[in-house]
């Protein structure tokens, strides 16, 4: 399948200044190679601090990697200028964990949804309104909430709205960074279904977005994705089809994650090896 977005030898280092004055380099991503095919469903899993979120912001061009390349279709994103990136960014959209802080609380639902169009297109106000209504229907929200304040919505509704906004510019890649984690299980199931709908195999590849679900919940990752990528200490330690990762995990980090998420596994005195 055609590779849409890929990372090669991606390294991201952050410098952290200790209060004693010692400067330390933290390597958040360490030579990461990843290929996201058109229309794919991919999950990136790993414990806290494994580099999942850094990978997300690098792929979405919100952070510049320290070295390595990111390719999107024919463009090498790592050497584009800010202006050139502006035309690429709409095609790679990011949804964050906490839907409560994702919007300007003073914005109505309509204002949230039309902002991307105001910034990126020359659409008329009427057209924006019409398209916003279409988006609401697409993510399973009621049409009549356009005038409601974004702060008045429930957690699940807000996460739907965040996904709707991310879809406004018809992205080719949708990255969700722990976008399900803060939600109740019954709401997680609804949002996961929405993601499955958006990337349904019946939708032609040309218009079907690739979805990258970043999570520490291996269960949801396995249920949603076709392929799972496991990260630890900034590296990809294992990746492959879901059946392989769940049924026959090779790396210790995958096995530890699996052991912790297995339903009904008795709690032992022994700490799982990480």
């Amino acid at each position: 399948m055609e590779v849409l977005l890929s990372a090669e030898n991606l390294v991201k280092e952050y410098s952290s200044r200790h209060f004693s004055g010692v400067k330390a380099l933290v390597r958040a991503l360490d030579r990461v190679n990843l290929a996201i095919p058109r229309g794919a469903r991919i999950a990136i899993v790993g414990a806290s601090g494994s580099g999942k979120s850094t990978l997300a912001v690098c792929l979405a061009c919100l952070e510049k990697p320290s070295s390595g390349t990111i390719r999107f279709q024919n463009h090498e994103l790592t050497c584009l200028s800010v202006d050139e990136l502006r035309s690429i960014r709409p095609q790679i959209q990011l949804v964050f964990q906490d839907p409560a802080t994702a919007f300007n609380p003073n914005f109505t639902v309509l204002e949230v949804l039309e902002e991307p169009w105001i910034l990126q297109t020359k659409m008329s106000a009427e057209e924006r309104r019409e398209r916003a209504t279409e988006l609401l229907v697409r993510v399973g929200l009621a049409r009549n909430i356009l005038g409601r304040g974004s702060a008045d919505l429930s957690g699940g509704q807000r996460q739907r709205l965040a996904i709707a906004r991310a879809l406004a510019l018809k992205p080719k890649v949708l990255i969700l960074d722990e976008a399900l984690s803060a939600l109740d299980y019954s709401v997680q199931a609804q949002i996961a279904n929405l993601l499955l709908d958006l990337s349904d195999r019946a939708i032609p590849l040309a218009v079907r977005p690739a979805i990258v679900l970043i999570t520490h919940d291996l269960v949801m990752a396995a249920r949603f994705a076709d392929e799972i990528v496991v990260m630890q200490s900034g590296r990809i330690v294992e990746n492959g089809p879901v059946q392989k990762i769940v049924g026959n995990p090779e790396h210790a980090a995958t096995q530890a994650l699996l052991a912790c998420t297995m339903n009904g596994a008795p709690i032992s005195e022994k700490r799982p090896a990480v």
């Binding site: 414990a47 806290s48 109740d184 199931a189 499955l196 699996l258 912790c260 709690i267 799982p272 990480v274």
Partner: protein, 327 residues
């Protein structure tokens, strides 16, 4: 067995700024035996945190307790004065929260923060306090207790900070620990470690734990009993294994179905969707006449709309609030 804690018919309501009422907890009754781990399973707005805070009489000022008693070994906590409550909190009942980084003082060494609890509960000798904290840290951390004692919260990981919060909570040897989503902000490996620590404390100290969570797989193999809450009411109360393997209340059944299971992933690969609970939970600003789950219930009957069911005994020895079982 004589219960350690007995909650009878507790009703809690919040008054919003607009002057409206939110009925957060309705007719909640619960018993916890000494050394028992009771899981409270519920989603946002189900009343589980209100239940936790009312057990310590720590409700916010806009809350009103309309009715009910909270008996700790026979003493009604809701009738106690502030001084008596302060003596009980920390020494007989403790609470840990979801976010340990908020619970800890950012510029105090964590060891000293644990000592503070001992001082508040009149361990007057400084050496004795220090000695006790060292012992406590040794039992809670696998290694490095010495370094952790003199660390600041920001130098510790999320899991270590939660361990410090637990150390604070158990420093004065309470009989009951209320844990309100203590692992929600941690990754799965650390989550397991914290659960193992709590289980160990339960065994070693005969500590009863009320474990509040929205995550049902955490309770599997951990809790002895599970109480399921929906829209401010307890709807099912049963042995943990029974609730998780053969849930009785239609809400519990629906909730369990919408969580995928790794064992069943293989069949799910066919582009199918996850079962969901249709609709949304009710707004609790007015009392509904019938069962709160009725509008979303796949097995609703005429009577469900007319009145609220009472608890009935289910086949697996638990209690269910549903007309299917009599009501």
């Amino acid at each position: 067995m004589e219960p350690l804690l007995e909650v009878q018919n507790l009703n809690v309501r919040y008054r919003t700024r607009a002057g409206a009422d939110v009925f957060a907890l309705t007719e909640a009754s619960l018993r916890i035996a000494p050394g028992e781990i009771v899981g409270v399973l519920g989603e946002s707005g189900s009343g589980k945190s209100t239940l936790a805070t009312s057990l310590l009489a720590m409700l916010p000022v806009n809350a009103a307790i309309d009715d009910g008693t909270v008996l700790l070994q026979g003493t009604n906590l809701l009738k106690l004065g502030r001084g008596e409550l302060t003596r009980i909190r920390g020494s007989r009942i403790s609470l840990i929260y979801q976010e340990p980084s908020v619970a800890l003082h950012p510029t105090m060494r964590v060891g000293v923060q644990i000592e503070e609890i001992l001082r508040a509960h009149s361990v007057d000798s400084r050496d004795e306090r220090r000695h006790k904290v060292r012992e406590l840290l040794d039992s809670i951390f696998v290694a490095d207790a010495e370094r952790i004692y003199s660390s600041y919260p920001h130098q510790l990981s999320g899991g270590q900070r939660q361990r410090i919060a637990i150390a604070q909570a158990i420093a004065c040897k309470p009989n009951l620990l209320i844990a309100d989503e203590p692992t929600a902000s941690l990754d799965p490996v650390t989550q397991r470690e914290i659960l193992e620590l709590l289980k160990k404390l339960q065994r070693e100290r005969n500590l009863a734990i009320l474990f509040i969570t929205h995550s049902l797989e955490l309770l599997d193999g951990f809790a002895d009993r599970v109480v399921v809450m929906y829209a401010g009411r307890i709807v099912e109360d049963s042995d943990a294994r029974e609730v998780l393997s053969s849930p009785q209340h239609p809400y519990t059944q629906a909730l369990l179905k919408c969580r995928p299971r790794l064992e069943r992933i293989e069949n799910a690969l066919s582009d199918s969707r996850i079962p969901v609970i249709p609709g949304e939970p009710p707004v609790l600003s007015s009392r509904v006449q019938g069962c709160e789950f009725e509008p979303r219930c796949p097995e609703r009957m005429q009577i469900c709309r007319e009145r609220v069911p009472e608890f009935s005994n289910s086949e697996n020895g638990g209690k269910v609030r549903c007309f299917k079982f009599g009501g």
